[in-house]
Structure formats: C-alpha cells, structure tokens
C-alpha cells in the first residue's frame, strides 16, 4: 500500500527540512522525499498544494475516560476527536475507573485502541494505587504493558517521601514521572486563580504558590533521584522561572503548557461559566506572558491539551460545584495557529517542535520526524482555512470548551496515521 503526497511544504524541524517536496509513503513508513518520485503501481496521490506537512502531532496529556466514564468520552470518540484536531497520537492519563494502576487496565485500554482507536494511544500509568498517594502502583508491569510515563494527574502526591521512591523506582524504565503540581492545603479547594478577579467574584481562589511550592519540591526530588520529572500543565510565572533555573543547572526537568493557559486569563471566569474552570485554574496576564515567553525560548518543551471531557450534567452547575476540565483536542491546533503563529508570536517550526518533536523525544515515542524509515504519521495543515469553534460539531462526546464561538484561520487539513489518512 502506498501514498504519494505532492506539492506540500514539508516542515520537519527534527531534520532541518522546510521546503516544497513530495512525500512517498510505502507500507506505513516514509519511503522517500523529493521531486518527481518514482512510485509503485497503484499509488494513490494526494495534492497538498498550499498546505504544510509536518510530523504527526502528539498530545501527551489527554483523558480518554475509558474505562469507567464512557458517558464523557471513549477511546473511539477521543481518538476521533484527536484525528479531527490534527493529532496522530495521544497519551491518556490514568484517572479512569478503575484507575490505570495495573497491567489489566493498561491492556484493556490498548485493546480498545486496537479495535476502535483511529490514532495511536499510549497509556500513562498511575504512580500510586488508586491515585490515593499512599502506596506505589505496579509500575514495572505497567511499563512492560506499554505505559510510557507515570502520573497521578488530577491529584498531587502530597507525600514527598513516597514520591521520591516513585521517582527512583521508575528510573530503570526510562519513563518520566509527570507531576500535577498542586499543594492541596494551599489550593484549599479554590475554584479559580487567587487575585483581584476571585476577590470580586467572591469565589475561593488558589494562589499560584500552590503550584509553585510543588514544582519546587519536585525539582528538588528530581535532583535527588536523577529522575526525569515532567511538569504537567504549567501555569504560573513562578513555576516557569523555577523550571528555567533547574534546566540551567542540568536537572532532568521538562514541562508542558495547555492552549487555554496560553490564551486565556482569569478574566474569562467573570461570566461564572464553568467551562472556564479547570485545574490548574486560568491565571493572570503576567503568568500568560511568562508562559508564552517560556514556550518560545524552550523552557516549556511541549504543548499538551489536558483534554478533559465532562458531560453537561457535570458542568452546568454552580461554579464552585462544577467539575474541572475543558476539552482541547479539536480546538488546540486552530487556536495556536491563529493566535500564536499568525501574529508572529511563535514561528510554525517551533509550534511543530512543541507539538510533535518534543513529546516524541521526551516520552521515547516513534514520531516527531519525517525522515525515510519513520512511521508515516503526518499532520497536514491548511494555514488559511477559516474556522469558528462550534462545540455541536465536536467528535468528542463532550462539549466543555471555553472557546465556543471563537474564530480564526488555520486548521488541520488531513491527519495521516501509519500511512493512511484518517476519516474522523
């Protein structure tokens, strides 16, 4: 089976490629790049004139909700949402029901992905049993079963002694430990960022410090253990500063940021719309500025959506009672192209690095490259495509986005996984 994509601009930052070339895909792998390529008989041709071909985008932080919360999302619906959003692979967090803290659940997720997934699925295992923060999960077996990282995401392991052991225990697997950095005592159930807006709205706020004290702790633990620490959904200027400083000292720390933390501030909460509620909360303008700067200079390695589907019944509630989380798979790429790349805040090659090259590297995944021999996971972008965010048309089972009605230009045009275009 072969596919020839002609006339597209090939943007492959890992290999220093940026130019109009044709790409020949044979049997699920990149066979050749160039002009006037010889093709085997029966090769299908796609004309990507005016479009950009980049290595398949990887969202290293999503919640597929299966098993257990299939009314919010399933492997089938979540991977379709991913494909529609231009992602060829997703990493799914462990806070399912039951929790992905043992091999049986990992196997189940991977089986669902084989049967009905349309993009690659890489599970992330729990650090502690049932995310309770008291006893290590069976990480060795989970790593063997295919978990690519470990995280109690959604919860913070408050016991520093146990977290240190987790970092040590995971060393032989070469998998990062991903931290949801949130000190529960400081956050104290706060429903939004602490500041003038929380004061005006009369909502309990959580200070940026509740994230920063845990980022500080985890950096110290990473230094102690030599583990690869990855900070999930970094959201404050202070946390960014500490990651930058730790990297300069040679600590193995990486970080991701979400599109919503890059594009919105706590001002969006003024509507009391629960679709602006997530953990960590939307922060202040100075935080957003620090995040964008850190994304550009590489302090923040990647962009991940923290796609967190919630049913209407979990969201349409009093703000303080409503569930945390927003969906992101289908809005991330269009928003980033329009709000960051189009105005020149971030160049396209850097965006592709943050969405593909970096996550592949730091999780040791195939991908992030269009070199001959690589998996033919390709995202094709149309930088001029006009769009309006319409939650009713999401492939995701959930609609909880703060971006409904947003408009812009630039969107994924085709998502190719293993050499085959995906129809989401």
């Amino acid at each position: 089976m072969s596919l020839l994509i002609v006339n597209g601009r090939v943007l492959d930052p890992a290999n220093g490629v940026d130019g109009v070339q044709d790409v020949l895909v044979i049997d699920g792998r990149i066979a050749k790049l160039g002009k006037a390529l010889e093709t085997p008989a029966g090769t299908e041709t796609v004309d990507a004139g005016g479009k950009v071909l980049c290595p398949g985008l990887i969202d290293m932080h999503v919640h597929l909700r299966e098993p257990g919360h299939e009314y919010k999302e399933t492997v089938a619906s979540g991977t379709r949402a991913a494909a529609a959003g231009g992602f060829t692979a997703v990493c799914c967090m462990a806070n399912t029901f039951p929790v992905n803290d043992n091999r049986a659940v990992t196997d189940y997720i991977l089986a669902r992905a084989r049967v009905e997934g349309v993009v690659r699925v890489y599970p992330i295992g729990a650090v502690t049993r049932n995310l309770e923060g008291t006893q290590l999960a069976e990480m060795a077996e989970q790593a063997e079963a295919g978990c690519v990282a470990f995280s109690d995401d959604g919860k913070c392991v408050m016991n520093a002694g146990l977290y240190r052991r987790a970092m040590e225990y995971a060393l032989p697997f070469g998998t990062p430990i991903i931290s949801h950095a949130e000190d529960g005592h400081l956050a104290h159930g706060g429903a939004m960022n602490e500041g003038i807006v929380s004061t005006e709205l009369g909502l309990d706020g959580q200070p940026g410090a509740s994230e920063e004290v845990m980022v500080a702790r985890d950096i110290v633990l990473a230094e102690l253990t030599g583990a690869h620490l990855h900070i999930a959904h970094i959201s404050t200027a202070g946390a960014v500063r500490m990651v930058r400083e730790a990297k300069a000292r040679g600590v193995r720390v990486t970080a991701e940021v979400t599109p919503h933390h890059l594009l919105l501030t706590d001002e969006a909460v003024r509507s009391y719309d629960p679709n602006t509620k997530m953990a960590p909360p939307l922060r202040a303008k100075r935080d957003v500025e620090a995040l964008i700067e850190a994304l550009a200079d590489g302090t923040i390695d990647c962009i991940a959506t923290d796609h967190a589907p919630q049913a209407l019944s979990d969201k349409e509630d009093e703000f303080a009672e409503a569930a945390n989380g927003v969906v992101g798979l289908e809005t991330a790429v269009p928003l980033l192209l329009d709000r960051l790349v189009r105005p020149g805040i971030l160049d396209l090659a850097t965006l592709v690095t943050r969405l593909s090259v970096a996550p592949a590297r730091l999780l040791n995944l195939p991908g992030g490259s269009l070199a001959p021999g690589a998996h033919a996971d390709i995202t094709v972008l149309d930088l001029e495509q006009p769009w309006t965010v319409n939650p009713a048309r999401f492939r995701s089972r959930s609609r909880n986005t703060p971006f409904a009605g947003f408009e812009g230009h630039g969107a994924p045009w085709m998502t190719i996984v293993g050499g085959a275009p995906v129809t989401p």
């Binding site: 602490e194 500041g195 709205l201 009369g202 909502l203 509630d317 009093e318 703000f319 009672e321």
Partner: protein, 308 residues
C-alpha cells in the same frame, strides 16, 4: 429616568444614577409602613418567588413583606443544602419554578454566581439576595439609604468596613456601591480576613483597628462566622474580639456623630459589645426597616414600573 434592567445581580454592574433611583423610590415607599393599612395595589397579579437555598430569616422576611405590601403574591421556596445533594440541579429547580410563570425570582444561594446562572436561563427577573461571598446588592442599597437618611448625603463620607471582609458579600456590594456614590471606603481586619488584591477595588486597607475607626463617619461591623477559627483564619474568637471588637471604650475614640451599622445577625460580644449594638450611635434597626423599603423599590422597578 427609566429602569431598564431585567435583573438585579450585583452592585458592580449598576451605575450611580440607578442607585439613586432605587434610593429615591425606596424613600417614597417608606410612607407605606406608617399607614394603618399597609398595602398598595401596585403589584397586584404579580408573583414573586423567594428561592432560598441557604437559610435566612431577615432577608427572606424582608422580601416577603415588601412583596405583600405591594400586593404581589409571594411564594417562599426553601431548599436546604446544595442542588447536588438533592440530586436536582439548580437549573432544573429554577426551570420548574419558571414553568409556574413567576414575575420575579429572589435567589439566595451559597454559591457565588448562582443568581447569574439563573438570570442567564430564566425569562423572569432575578434578584440576587446574596450569593456566597460575591454580592448582596439589596443590603448595600438599604445601607446607603440608611446613611443618606442619617447624614443627609453620601458624597465625601468616610466609611470603614471592619471584620471578615474575605467572606463577606455585604462588604463587596457596599464597596462597589459606595465607591460609585463618592464615599471613601476603608476595609479593616486581620490580614487573613482581607481578600487578596483588595486595594485594587479602590479601597484603603488597614490592619489597625484604631486607625480604621478614628475618622470614620460610618463604621460597618461585619459578622464573624465561628468556622473562621477552624479554617485557620484566626486563632480564637476571644482574641478576635479583643483586637477587633467594637467596645464602648473604643467607641469613645470615634467621631461624636459616628454611625454604627451591622448587616446582622449580630454576634453580641464578638464584633460588637452589646451596649454598642444597642447604643445611641447604632442604626442597626433602621437598616432593617429600610430593608423593606429598598426591596419594595427593587420589586417595583423590576416589574411594576414596566406595567405602569
């Protein structure tokens, strides 16, 4: 002048002219309380639903009397606990009530933003009767009416709001309303009970009781909830009372024409010494009486003035 709003949700999004309109209307309503037969037909055929998700005696009764004196049919709906505990969402409850065609829904809820959520979804008028630590607009209006009556004006006055500002919707509504009326507002309390970035609301912040009350024309003492102690905001009620309570001795150092206000219910001996609460500077019961007039004005402006 013409009242255009469908809802009264906060003092933050209301302007000075609207505040004056409510106060002037309330003043004209006060005369009704002095009549032998306290009833006018203004809102006959209108239905007011008091939707109280949090217990309240004073505010609910005040709205009920206000509605009844204006001849509206007033229905009280009390639901304790959060909507989640009942298994019915707030919106479902509200939509059920709307199906009965009320003209005004008066909402008290422990969650900030709950009245705003209802206002977005209901066709009838929504009045915020207190939502979490967000706002309590009719309280601010009755406070302004009381101050204006006693002082003759609002502009140029100094008001100190003392106590647990962090958790106070009364403080927030008053800060917004008073700023708009040209009042200089000082908030005072231990730093743990002053909300983050409070200065950005345009108020002075003081952590010294003597300094906060010395030049005030009006001192508004806030109620201290006992759970602030277990929440780690203060070490003990005893210490709070000693440092922040308004005693008779401390009152001696205030202006001779100072007004002492309190949104109620008073914790006697905690934030206010009994002899201060009942003393000649106290206008606490005037506030309660003015509450009915202000709520009559609000109900009238939201419904009656349109029909008239």
């Amino acid at each position: 002048m013409g009242w255009k709003r469908k809802d009264l949700l906060s003092m933050q999004d209301i302007d000075a002219a609207e505040i004056t309109e409510v106060l002037d209307t309330a003043e004209s309503m006060k005369e009704i309380a002095t009549r032998e037969i306290k009833k006018v037909p203004t809102l006959r055929g209108k239905t007011v639903v008091n939707l109280f998700f949090e217990s309240s005696t004073r505010t609910r009764t005040s709205f009920e009397i206000a509605g009844k004196w204006l001849s509206a049919d007033v229905i009280n709906f009390s639901a304790s606990g959060s909507s989640a505990e009942k298994g019915e969402s707030l919106l479902d409850t509200a939509k059920n009530i709307e199906a009965m065609s009320p003209d005004v829904v008066v909402v008290r809820h422990k969650a900030a933003g709950a009245p705003a959520l209802l206002a977005r979804h209901l066709r009838c008028s929504v009045v915020n009767a207190g939502d979490g630590a967000h706002e309590h607009p009719t309280q601010a209006l009755l406070d302004l009416l009381t101050i204006r009556e006693k002082k003759g004006h609002l502009e140029g006055l100094n008001v100190s709001i003392v106590g647990d500002v962090t958790h106070s919707r009364v403080a927030r509504s008053n800060i917004h309303a008073m700023k708009k009326m040209g009042i200089t507002v000082t908030v005072a309390g231990p730093p743990t009970l002053i909300p983050p970035a409070c200065q950005e609301l345009g108020v002075k912040v003081s952590h010294r009781p003597e300094e906060a009350i010395a030049h005030a024309d009006v001192i508004m003492m806030l109620r201290l909830q006992h759970e602030r102690m277990t929440g780690g905001f203060i070490p003990s009620i005893r210490e709070y009372s000693r440092v922040w309570g308004l005693s008779l001795a401390r009152l001696q150092r205030c202006r001779p024409d100072v007004l002492i206000m309190h949104p109620g219910p008073v914790n006697r001996g905690v934030e206010l010494a009994p002899e201060v609460a009942d003393g000649r500077y106290s206008v606490i019961l005037d506030q309660v009486a003015n509450g009915v007039a202000v709520r009559m004005a609000v109900l009238y402006l939201l419904t009656g003035s349109k029909a008239a």
